[in-house]
């Protein structure tokens, strides 16, 4: 460490690499929402983050967030290229190692990628890190040439002093730059000067994804590596009682059989086929244990019961219950949202090489620090002896925010001293997911004689992911995610009562799923808003518009979507359009979906029109891609998906029983963006959260049938 100093903006330091390069670390103050997990670790707030590395291999952005397909490697590189005056192709991107002190997401308070926070978290800090580096590099060049830094200019990674006809690349001056004092208050470019931000940049990670050369966790190959696959008790808490080890060992290519907690067995072989054949030959018998009688019906019956009792109050303004009781028009309803599986295209996997004094793991994870700790805890090794090689992910949708799989891999392989790639079959993956929680919502509303919403109540019943995943964020019995977009809506509201009943389902693990709390609550709220319009004979668009007097950004996206979707135009019989409006993840989004009911009573998705205002846009094409993909992901589940249980075991085992929207079933998607100078909002989850409500409302428009339980296609039949 050469220099450090404190400034209002934070603590900065430059570090000279052993190779003579410059690593610039920048620490910035906390940001985040008051309701988030933020308050959990005040003391961790002022430790440094290191993002820029310049050495003989080039200019590298050390990526604090992970690439799950959302395009963050490219968007973050664009932020850095902007302030370092680089072309995007001059930057390399490298996954950050596990290091909470440097790479903590300031909204999530973990080194984690989720909740559409990446751009919101990195928008300022990556630009500041890059601008600081540029100023130091220019300062070093100016000092070498004995000229005024203000007389130097930078173009594509080279510093020029035109008057003396001198120039230097960043690399040539990096070691000298690292010795300079770090500037305290770094000016960032004025947005009018942006050359990279806001352009349609080509993604950095895609060329290798079209020619088979990209390496996901599933594709890792380590010298001496063997292959394993596993069987986990079909029922949570169950145990194996009997297996035929001799038969498995007789399979050619089978090397070892390992177990964990009497609840999981892995067979290791020369290749996946040998391991799989060996596992089949084991013919395992299971004792289901205490959850052997669980079904979705038993879970939902309990939720119905507990949801009749008051929950923890989230919001209580102006006696909403009394207002509704006295309202000329009152309505109430129960909405149900099922357990959902993530089922990313890349099945779960983890490659581990455990040795006596160290361990190495190769895995695609959204939480590298938790991954390192999981392996350390199970093996008994110190964390610094566990190397995490984070890999590109073939999707995650929240599944790779948990490390249960990595813990299990470490338990199974802790006595094996050669590297093993452990692969979950699709069946094991789907039946041992940490599912999107089942939610049971009770809602009520009162409207006055002019059809104006005067009171609303909303009780969310469901498991708390925060209570398990980040207990510090689960304060006073409130899970901020479970009620996101239920307690607060974009609309003008005077009397609101919202409460939350925590109910943990027996034998089911629950976790984050794309769109998180908003994806479930927006289905409920936006469907119910349509019910209010219907009950008072108002157009769903006009009804919403009237309630947006204090929310111009929400009104603007709604108007834009309505115009582009041709709202109000006559439709042929059997067709309908449905609206969903949201303010979530810091972004404003309106979705209007047009559907058709076929003669066979099937839903055909025709056209999705999305208007989005997500503040400053880094890569407009990535926003479009996230909207297209997000809404299709959400519609897929809203149409078809639910995870159910029989005798404690999951009924859906593969894509034949967990139906995914296919190309012939996907709607056209049109995305319209509103230009904005506001701070960036998240986009990865937004489209998903906008799907189910628009679909339910479109089905109502087409059929007059109100569906309050997902999946919709099944409910319609």
């Amino acid at each position: 460490m050469i220099n450090n100093l404190h400034s209002r903006r934070g603590f900065l330091k430059g570090t000279v690499l052993a190779t003579g390069g410059l690593v610039l670390a920048v620490q910035l103050p906390r940001m985040g929402r008051a309701t988030g997990p933020a308050s959990s670790s005040e003391e961790a707030a002022f430790t440094p983050n290191a993002f820029v590395k310049i050495d003989e291999s080039g200019i590298t952005l050390i990526m604090p967030h992970t690439e799950v397909g959302q395009g963050i490697y490219t968007s973050s590189a664009m932020l850095m290229a902007e302030e370092l005056e680089l072309r995007l192709d001059q930057l390399k991107v490298e996954a950050a190692p596990p290091d909470l002190s440097k790479y903590m997401d300031p909204i999530l308070y973990d080194q984690a990628t989720g909740g559409s926070t990446s751009t919101r978290s990195d928008w300022m800090r990556l630009r500041q890190a890059a601008a600081t580096a540029r100023i130091m590099l220019v300062g070093a060049a100016a000092a070498r040439w004995r000229v005024d830094p203000a007389q130097c200019r930078v173009h594509e990674g080279t510093i020029y002093h035109d008057a003396s006809n001198q120039s230097s690349t960043y690399y040539d001056i990096a070691a000298e730059a690292a010795k300079l004092p770090v500037p305290a208050d770094v000016p960032l470019k004025d947005p009018s000067q942006f050359k990279v931000i806001g352009t349609r940049a080509k993604r950095l990670d895609t060329p290798g994804k079209v020619n088979g050369s990209v390496v996901y966790g599933m594709d890792i190959r380590v010298p001496g590596m063997k292959y394993a696959t596993l069987a986990i008790s079909p029922v949570t808490g169950g145990r194996f009682t009997k297996m035929d080890e001799a038969a498995a060992r007789a399979v050619k290519g089978v090397l070892d059989i390992v177990t964990a907690d009497n609840a999981a067995i892995a067979v290791i072989g020369e290749h996946m086929w040998a391991a799989k054949q060996g596992l089949d030959a084991l013919n395992i018998e299971w004792d289901a244990g205490e959850n052997g009688a669980v079904t979705v019906d038993t879970i939902v019956a309990k939720m119905d019961q507990v949801s009749q009792q008051p929950g923890v109050v989230i919001r209580d303004e102006n006696k909403a219950v009394d207002v509704i009781a006295n309202a000329p028009t009152k309505l109430s309803a129960i909405y149900r949202s099922p357990f959902l599986s993530h089922s990313p295209m890349e099945p779960l996997n983890c490659t581990l090489h455990i040795q006596n004094d160290r361990a190495e793991v190769w895995v695609g994870t959204q939480v590298p620090v938790r991954t390192q700790k999981a392996v350390a805890d199970i093996t008994g090794l110190p964390v610094e002896k566990v190397t995490v090689n984070n890999q590109l992910m073939g999707g995650a949708f929240g599944r790779r925010l948990d490390v249960d799989t990595i813990e299990l891999a470490a338990k199974l392989l802790k006595d094996i001293r050669y590297p093993v790639k452990l692969v979950w079959t699709r069946e094991q993956d789907m039946t041992h997911d940490y599912y999107r929680p089942y939610y049971y919502d009770r809602v009520a509303a009162g409207l006055d004689k002019d059809g104006r919403l005067i009171g609303r109540t909303h009780r969310v019943t469901g498991s708390s992911i925060f209570a398990r995943w980040a207990p510090a964020a689960f304060k006073n019995g409130i899970d901020p995610d479970a009620v996101d977009c239920a307690s607060e809506t974009p609309y003008d509201e005077e009397a609101v009562f919202a409460d939350y009943v925590r109910d943990e389902p027996a034998g089911v693990n629950t976790s984050w799923w794309r769109g998180v709390g908003a994806s479930h609550n927006l289905f409920v709220v936006e469907s119910f808003v349509d019910e209010m319009a219907t009950a008072t004979k108002q157009d769903p668009l006009e009804f919403r518009r009237k309630m947006l007097t204090k929310n111009p950004r929400a009104l603007a996206v709604l108007n834009l979507a309505a115009e582009k979707a041709g709202w109000g135009q006559a439709l042929p019989p059997g067709r309908g359009k449905g609206i969903s409006l949201q303010v979530a993840f810091g972004s404003y989004l309106a979705h209007i979906l047009e559907i058709e009911i076929t003669d066979e009573k099937e839903v055909r998705l025709l056209r999705s029109v999305i208007a989005v205002d997500c503040g400053v846009v880094i890569n407009p094409d990535t926003v479009v891609a996230q909207m297209e993909g997000g809404v299709i992901f959400g519609l897929s589940s809203a149409m078809f998906n639910q995870v159910t249980f029989t005798d404690g075991a999951v009924d859906q085992t593969n894509f034949d029983t967990y139906r995914v929207l296919r190309i012939n079933e996907a709607p056209k998607v049109e995305v319209y963006q509103i230009k904005s100078g506001e701070a960036p909002g998240g986009v990865g989850e937004a489209g998903t959260a906008a799907a189910a409500g628009a679909l339910a409302n479109a089905i109502f428009a087409a059929t007059g049938k109100r569906i309050r339980s997902l999946p919709l296609a099944e409910a319609l039949g």
């Binding site: 994804k209 050369s213 050619k252 290749h271 073939g394 699709r426």
Partner: protein, 149 residues
């Protein structure tokens, strides 16, 4: 020992007759571009070409293969249609997580091998066996039209 021809190159492999080509490619030959997604021919991630026809390598066992030419994602760019599809995929920025895209590209190439100007319904028919969880279908359709242009 069995001899198979992949991307124009012959390989000798010593594996069971009932072993799916998928695992031979991935775990024996180290050609990991072909992906495991479901193992039951529901997702299409493992699609390869056998004599220009798209097949699911998870369901193609070694005893089903004789002297045919196998083409995988690693080699499809050497064919005219494969190269056009890969180029269109990049031009349209189809890819998100990318895990299904090897299979999508192989299915799209097989489509163009038999149909130089596919319509939307031709695309639906040829591509409906390939799942994309990221939902890149809008762009896949667009890119196939571009590749065929």
């Amino acid at each position: 020992m069995k001899t198979i021809t992949i991307n124009g190159k012959t390989h000798e492999v010593d594996v069971p007759d009932d072993m799916p080509l998928l695992w031979v490619l991935r775990d024996v030959l180290g050609m990991t571009g072909t992906k495991y997604g479901c193992g039951i021919a529901q997702c299409g991630a493992c699609t390869v070409l056998i004599d220009d026809m798209a097949v699911r390598s998870c369901q193609t066992t070694m005893d089903m293969i004789d002297a045919q030419q196998i083409t995988t994602i690693e080699g499809v760019g050497e064919t005219e249609n494969g190269r056009k599809v890969q180029t269109a995929w990049l031009e349209k920025e189809v890819v998100q997580c990318g895990y299904c895209q090897s299979g999508q590209i192989m299915s799209a190439t097989a489509l163009l091998n038999t149909n130089a100007k596919p319509t939307d319904s031709d695309i639906d028919e040829a591509m409906a066996g390939n799942i994309c969880r990221c939902g890149t279908y809008v762009r896949i359709r667009d890119a196939i039209h571009t590749a065929a242009a």
